[in-house]
Symmetry: C2
Subunit: 229 residues, 2 copies
């Protein structure tokens, strides 16, 4: 990361993290030694806030407690949409019914989902992710959620807008074949897949998505990019 | 009901009730003055039990506490499938994750759902029904649930088997255009829709299902049936 920054290239971090504010997320990475600031992070919650403001939507929030501060400036009175994130312990029977009642009570239900993940692993085992609860509400209300976050095209576009760079001049580096590589390519960017983290060898036979190149790790990605400047 | 029984016609009650055992359900109806016994009731839980036995499936149960006795005779050790019903307050984050982990841990996940309802109304408001949680698990595990209960063909077949009557000689009376009328017709039975209970005038323009006749209430249905004997 330091080498990219020293080269003068613009840099933006794209995360689907919705269990914490960007502030918390950045502090965690800084603690691990990364040179990163809040302004350099594109995340689903602020992307959702932009949509809410643009369309005068007042959300009922079904999100993680730690994410609520991201919506501090949003009018939440008399809600006319539901925003769902990975609410974890907040996915209670009562909270799900409440979100459902808000949606079904709207003439034209609007459901905004901060991701479409199926499940993820924590130290105490696998957990259902936001996508599962999104499907429950979609089915109950006969509505299609609008998904914010990777791999949504709009999400990558807002990261590009943040940097003021057209997609043809940008490159995505990621470990997730669908969310990182597929999403960025659909937006007109090139994309490298790193063979670390979420990467699995079977990704290289993915039926729909093919990265522009594979790299063994982030350092190798930086080598390749800097060589071509 | 008394007139049907007096006529010598066979009678079976088909319900999608999964928040109580048949015993409780029957007691409630008896308390309202109906002449009804447990053997006359076809309900999703006993239908599921038949499937579990036939296929040597050992369920992990995600159901209402009051329904658990219906599964008393079923082996539940080392589960190799999940049975989901309208678990109501048992639809907790922890219980949903637990059911998910059982399913995702199976080589070939089997999910049996006691209905596919989207929502229902209680005195304190609308509630998400079993279908919504079924969809959440289906999505997370990339699996298709097997639905027991109306309108599943197998459900009506088991009611017919209970009476020992072929579908051509049976008639369904119900207020639900899809679950009662559509389900019975798909099974080869004729079906009357009563214009009471769940019935809504727009049912008469349903795109796929057309009852063999409409009746204003159950008494009128009995009149018509007895006239044709």
């Amino acid at each position: 990361l330091n080498r990219i920054k020293a080269s003068g290239l613009k840099l933006q971090f794209c995360t689907n993290e919705t269990q914490a504010t960007r502030e918390k997320f950045v502090k965690k990475l800084q603690g691990m030694g990364f040179d990163i600031s809040v302004a350099e992070v594109t995340a689903p919650a602020p992307a959702a806030c932009r949509i809410l403001k643009e369309r005068s939507l007042r959300p009922h929030l079904l999100v993680h407690n730690d994410l609520v501060p991201e919506f501090a400036e949003i009018d939440k009175a008399n809600p006319n949409c539901v925003v769902i994130g990975d609410a974890a312990e907040n996915f209670t029977y009562a909270n799900l019914n409440e979100a459902f009642r808000v949606l079904i009570g709207l003439e034209k239900p609007v459901l905004i989902s901060l991701g479409r993940g199926r499940y993820y692993k924590e130290t105490d085992g696998l957990k259902l992710d936001v996508g599962a609860y999104m499907k429950a509400l979609e089915y109950a209300c006969d509505v299609q959620a609008e998904v914010v976050g990777k791999p949504a095209k709009m999400f990558f576009e807002s990261a590009l807008a943040e940097m003021g760079v057209p997609p043809q001049q940008a490159i995505m580096i990621g470990d997730d074949i669908v969310n990182d590589v597929g999403g960025a390519q659909q937006c007109g960017m090139r994309a490298l897949q790193v063979r670390t983290g979420k990467y699995r060898p079977c990704d290289e036979n993915h039926p729909h998505v093919k990265p522009d190149a594979y790299v063994n790790n982030l350092a190798e990605a930086v080598d390749i990019i800097l060589q071509q400047l």
